[in-house]
C-alpha cells in the first residue's frame, strides 16, 4: 500500500496529483528547482525537496537528484506526471532497482512505444492500423512508384533523417513524383548529409483523436473513450473535447477496441493514451501511444466519472480495476481550454512574468486546474501552460455555451495569455459546428486574431474609471512618491526609439 508519493513534476499537474493523493490520505513530496521555490506545488505538498538549478536538465530531468529526494523523504512511490521523465524508461528502471513503486507502466512498454519503428511493427502485428507507407528507406525510383501505387496518392515524401519540415514534399499528382523525389533527396542531403527518404500516405483534413486506456496488473484493459484534440497551435493542443463531434458511434467502438489491442500488445499497465490520426472519411491510423497521464485527462474524468490519478495509484498498488468496460458510458460533454502564458498575436511566443491579478470562474459545470497565484513569477524555464479550464455540459452546445461564459469570467493580468484567443475559437463558426481539423487555427487566423468590439458605452466607462483611479492616486501620492515619479521622468528624457520585435 502506497503511503507517501513523491511527485516528480511541477506546475498544474503536480498540484493536481497532490490533490488526489490527499483525498486518498497519502502523503506527498514535492521536488523543486531554484526557480520553483515559491511554486504552488511546493506550497501545497506535505514535504518539499530541492533538486537542483532551474534548467530542467539539472533538476526535473535529473534522475539521481530525484531518487535522492525519494530516499530522504521515505517516499514509497513516485508519480512522474507528464513531460519531463514520464516517458524515460530509465526512470522506472531506477525505481525498480531502488525498491520504489513507479506509478506508471513497466519500462518495456515505455521503450517499445517510445521507438517509432518498433511501435509501428508492434501495432501492425497487433492488427492496429498504421499510416500506410513503406517500412524502410526508398532506394530507387521504381521502388517509389511501387510504394505509391500500393498506398495511393496523395503521399508525403520525407527525409529519413528529417525534421523541422526540411526534406519534405507533398505529392498529389502522379506527374509530380519524380521531381518531388529528387528535390526531397537533394534537400535532405544538404540539410542532414543523408539523402535517404521514405514514403507515407498523406492524411488530408486530419483529426487527432486519442483514446484513454487503463490497464491493471491482472490483465484487465479498458478504454474510457476518446478525446478530440484537433485544435492545435504550433502542433500543440490547446482545446480538447469529448465526445468527438466528428466520430460516428461505430467508429468509436472500433477505435476503442484498437486502443485496447494496442495496450495489450505491449503488456501495458497504468493509465495511457493511444493517439490516432483520422482522415475525413474516418479512416484511423495509430500515431503513437503516450505512456503516461495526458494534459487533457480531466475531460475524460468528467464525462466518464473517474479520477484517473486515483486509478493510477490503485493500479500501482496492485489492485484490480473496479471499472468494467460494459458499465462505462459518456455522460454529457466536456471541453478543456488550455491557458498559456503566451502572446497569440506574436506567434504564440511564451510570456513568462509576474502574475499581478487572477479572476477564476466558478459555478455549475466548471473545473479549474492551475498552478499560479497573484504574486507568482512564472519562470522562464518551463512549459507556458498555467491553467486548464474544464467545462461540462449536458450536450456539446451546453458545454460550449458554458465554456464561453467561464472564459469571460477568467482574467489573468501581468502576463500575456491566450484567454481571449481561446474565447475567439469557441465563438468561431467552425468550432461551434464541430467541423474542424488540425489545420483549423492556421486556416482561420484572421477571424481568430480579431478583437471583440466592446458594446454600448463600455469603452467610455473604462476610460472614466481608469481616469478616476488615476486622480485618486495622484491626490493620495506622498511627497516621496512624487519624487519617484519625477525621477522616473528624468530617466525618460534620455529616451530613444526603442523597438519591440
Amino acid at each position: 500500500m502506497i503511503r507517501k508519493v513523491l511527485v516528480a513534476n511541477r506546475g498544474e499537474i503536480a498540484v493536481r496529483i497532490v490533490r488526489s493523493c490527499r483525498e486518498m490520505d497519502i502523503l506527498t513530496v514535492a521536488v523543486y528547482s531554484d526557480a520553483d521555490r515559491k511554486a504552488l506545488h511546493v506550497l501545497y505538498a506535505d514535504e518539499a525537496f530541492h533538486i537542483g538549478p532551474s534548467p530542467s536538465v539539472d533538476s526535473y530531468l535529473n534522475i539521481d537528484n530525484i531518487m535522492r529526494a525519494a530516499r530522504l523523504s521515505g517516499a514509497d512511490a513516485i508519480h512522474p506526471g507528464y513531460g519531463f521523465l514520464s516517458e524515460n524508461p530509465e526512470f522506472p528502471s531506477r525505481c525498480q532497482k531502488e525498491g520504489i513503486i513507479f506509478i506508471g507502466p513497466p519500462p518495456t512498454a515505455i521503450s517499445t512505444m517510445g521507438d517509432k519503428i518498433t511501435a509501428r511493427r508492434t501495432m501492425i502485428n497487433a492488427g492496429v492500423p498504421v499510416v500506410p507507407g513503406a517500412e524502410g528507406k526508398i532506394t530507387s525510383e521504381a521502388e517509389a512508384f511501387e510504394v505509391i501505387n500500393q498506398i495511393g496518392l496523395p503521399v508525403m515524401i520525407k527525409a529519413s533523417a528529417g525534421g523541422g519540415g526540411k526534406g519534405m514534399r507533398l505529392v498529389s499528382k502522379e506527374g509530380e513524383i519524380k521531381s518531388a523525389l529528387r528535390s526531397a533527396s537533394s534537400e535532405a542531403r544538404t540539410a542532414f548529409g543523408d539523402d535517404s527518404v521514405f514514403i507515407e500516405k498523406y492524411i488530408e483534413s486530419p483529426h487527432h483523436i486519442e483514446f484513454q486506456i487503463l490497464a491493471d496488473s491482472h490483465g484487465n484493459v479498458i478504454q474510457l473513450f476518446e478525446r478530440e484534440c484537433s485544435i492545435q497551435r504550433r502542433h500543440q493542443k490547446i482545446i480538447e473535447e469529448t465526445p468527438s463531434p466528428f466520430l460516428s458511434s461505430e467508429r468509436r467502438i472500433q477505435m476503442g477496441e484498437a486502443a485496447v489491442a494496442a495496450a495489450r500488445a505491449v503488456d501495458y499497465q497504468g493509465a495511457g493514451t493511444v493517439e490516432f490520426i483520422v482522415d475525413k472519411d474516418q479512416n484511423y491510423y495509430f500515431l503513437e501511444m503516450n505512456t503516461r497521464l495526458q494534459v487533457e485527462h480531466p475531460i475524460t474524468e468528467r464525462v466518464v466519472g473517474v479520477d484517473l490519478v486515483k486509478e493510477q495509484i490503485n493500479i500501482a498498488n496492485g489492485n484490480a480495476l473496479q471499472l468494467k468496460q460494459e458499465d462505462l458510458k459518456q455522460h454529457g460533454h466536456a471541453i478543456e481550454c488550455r491557458v498559456y502564458a503566451e502572446d497569440p498575436a506574436n506567434n504564440f511566443m511564451p510570456a513568462p512574468g509576474l502574475v499581478t491579478h487572477i479572476d477564476i470562474p466558478y459555478g455549475v459545470g466548471v473545473r479549474v486546474d492551475g498552478s499560479i497565484y497573484e504574486g507568482f513569477e512564472i519562470p522562464l524555464y518551463y512549459d507556458p501552460l498555467i491553467a486548464k479550464l474544464i467545462v461540462w455540459g449536458k450536450d456539446r452546445q451546453d458545454a460550449l455555451e458554458r465554456s464561453r461564459r467561464a472564459l469571460r469570467e477568467f482574467k489573468i493580468a501581468g502576463v500575456k495569455n491566450n484567454l481571449l484567443f481561446l474565447e475567439r475559437i469557441l465563438l468561431s463558426e467552425g468550432f461551434a459546428g464541430g467541423d474542424y481539423t488540425t489545420h483549423y487555427i492556421e486556416e482561420n487566423r484572421d477571424f481568430l486574431m480579431q478583437e471583440d468590439r466592446c458594446e454600448d458605452h463600455c469603452e467610455d466607462i473604462v476610460i472614466i474609471t481608469a481616469f478616476m483611479e488615476y486622480l485618486q492616486k495622484v491626490k493620495k501620492a506622498s511627497p516621496k512618491e512624487m519624487t519617484a515619479i519625477k525621477n522616473n521622468w528624468k530617466d525618460y528624457s534620455r529616451v530613444r526609439s526603442v523597438l519591440k520585435l
Binding site: 502564458a341 503566451e342 502572446d343 506574436n346 511566443m349 511564451p350 510570456a351 513568462p352 512574468g353 499581478t356 491579478h357 479572476d359 522562464l380 524555464y381 518551463y382 512549459d383 507556458p384 469571460r408 469570467e409 482574467k411 493580468a413 501581468g414 481571449l420 471583440d452 466592446c454 458594446e455 454600448d456 458605452h457 463600455c458 469603452e459 467610455d460 466607462i461 473604462v462 476610460i463 472614466i464 474609471t465 481608469a466 481616469f467 478616476m468 483611479e469 488615476y470 486622480l471 492616486k473 495622484v474 501620492a477 515619479i485 522616473n488 521622468w489 525618460y492 528624457s493 529616451v495 530613444r496 526609439s497 526603442v498 523597438l499 519591440k500 520585435l501
Partner: protein, 171 residues
Amino acid sequence: MSYEVKLNDRLARVEVLNQDGDKLLVSVDGIEYDLDFVKIGKGSYSVLHKNRSYNVELIPRNGVKKYQVHTLKNSFEVEIIDSEAKYLASRKKEHEADDEAIICSPIPGKVVSLLVSEGEVVEAGQSLVIISAMKMESEFKAPKKGKVISVKVTEGQTVESRQELVLLEYS
C-alpha cells in the same frame, strides 16, 4: 480641467463635471455620463450607467498612469496622458527619425546565441540574437540595414522583458 486618456489606439478627452458621493457626472469626448460610481476594492469599481452594470478592474502597469483594464467581456490597455506623458511623447516624436535603434527582448528569457558582434554590419532581416523561454526559441532580427554599435548581453545570460540586447546604427 480636462485630460486625455488613451484606450488602445483611441485618444479621448475626459472631464469631471461634478462629483457628489457615488454620483459622478463626467464627459468623454463631449458625451455626458451620469454615473453611480462605487469603488469596491483595490483597483476595482462598480459603475452603473442607465442601470447598465459594469464591473471594471484596473491593474496598474508601471506606476499610476498605465492600466490593464478588464470588464466582464473585454480587456483594454489604458493610459492617462498628463503633461509629463505629453512631454515624453513629444520627445519621442523628435527622436523618431533617429538613426539609432535599441533591440529589446519583448519577453524574459535566456540568451542562447549571440549572432553578431560590435562593429559588424548587418542586413535588414539578419538574425542578431536568439532568446529561449519556456521551451521555445525566438530569433530577433535587424529591422533595417545598419551597424552594431554595441551588444548589451552575453550568451547564457538571463534577460528581463524589455531589456536591451543590441544597439544598432542604421546606414
